[in-house]
Symmetry: none
Subunit: 230 residues, 2 copies
């Protein structure tokens, strides 16, 4: 239980407002409902070989009850996501994330995410994936913003879009954390690196097992999988 009610009603607007110049070509937002998958009346499923994934996957149990729509709804986690809501960051959390971002963090690794999450958890409910997504989105949107700005200001004679400053971050960031952004930003060779995985299953009984256990090699992680809606 412990339904952590999402109280959080910070007047969220006391920091900064930005002009938000938008060259009026914003995309209209979807005002229409969705779904009614009945469209594409003609195009229908193209499955050539009906394969029973469930029985493959769980040979002992077999496909269960076939039609039970309650398959996941009824069981236990009804309350886990009270409203099926998404993460709603608090001001403190955002502030810290911004700080980290400004500090140079771009691609926190699993361990860092885990720890950031732990810290941010002091201020509200949060999961690792939220942190992960936050950095992804923030990075991408900063990039967009910059691009727009560059376009807007492009009349000025070749102002370098960046300035090289040297800053010392007190041993705080790993190369990994800040890598990954430089690279495409200005045409650098886009170095890539390999990373490891593992996965968590928060809902069942798995436990996000972050292991920096030595030599266990894999490190941990999460990747976005769809829930089952949509």
């Amino acid at each position: 239980m412990g339904i952590s009610m999402k109280v959080h009603q910070f007047a969220r607007g006391f920091w900064e407002h930005e002009p938000s110049l938008t060259l009026g070509c914003k995309r209209l937002r979807p005002l229409a409902p969705k779904l009614a998958n009945t469209d594409t009346s003609t195009v229908s499923v193209t499955v050539t070989t009906p394969f029973d994934l469930k029985s493959f996957i769980r040979p002992d149990s077999g496909p269960r009850k076939l039609g039970s729509a309650d398959d996941k709804r009824e069981t236990i986690q009804v309350e886990t996501h009270p409203g099926g809501t998404r993460w709603n960051p608090t001001q403190e959390q955002i502030g810290i994330l911004e700080m980290l971002y400004r500090g140079g963090t771009r691609n926190p690794n699993a361990q860092e995410i885990e720890q950031i999450t732990a810290q941010l958890g002091k201020y509200g409910k949060i999961e690792g994936k939220n942190v992960f997504y936050w950095f992804q989105n923030h990075k991408a949107r900063e990039r967009q913003k910059q691009k727009r700005n560059n376009l807007g200001l492009n009349h000025s004679p070749r102002t370098p879009p960046y300035v090289t400053t040297t800053t010392t971050i007190s041993s705080s960031l790993t190369q990994d954390s800040i890598r990954g952004d430089f690279g495409r930003e200005e045409d650098s060779p886009y170095k890539r690196k390999c990373r490891s995985w593992t996965f968590e299953c928060l809902e069942e009984d798995k436990r996000y097992n972050c292991r920096d256990h030595d030599q266990g090699d894999k490190t941990l992680e999460l990747f976005p999988l769809h829930p089952e809606k949509r």
Copy 2:
């Protein structure tokens, strides 16, 4: 290892500084604040606050030794990947994956991945992420292949790029597993589901009415994170 300060050179420039000029268009109203941007007046260095991630993250231990460059390289994971870098699927594994794919699996969710992985593990070392990536890549590359084929044959008079077959999926797959592909799968130019054009049409009248939003999504996730390997 000598003490070598980690000095990062931020080539990253002033992303955050907004051109506070509002192009005479509409007066976009800033809806949500963003925070902290303090001033937009001056070109301020992005890193305003050297932030110590490690001490933030692990307050008890503090920045450790500060300079030890071996901080992450030297320690423990030297041999983490004994020799095998990436997954090398066996014939059986590939066979099963292809069977699943033909069966309609496209976006297995985390639980499915977990279970597929368990099954495939009988035939060789494998991790969940390998399964995840396999489906991602296979799907994308099938799509490419089809696109090439379509282009190649495109001279024929408007042959519908898809075939209408109606097939029953034998209870084996969740809608999710197969969703997300149809819709883009056929019909090359990015045709989206009806959602898109629907709102194009009535873009300014209806209220965004999302259908049933109950669905406590399961949240098992994995997301890509780098360990620290190269």
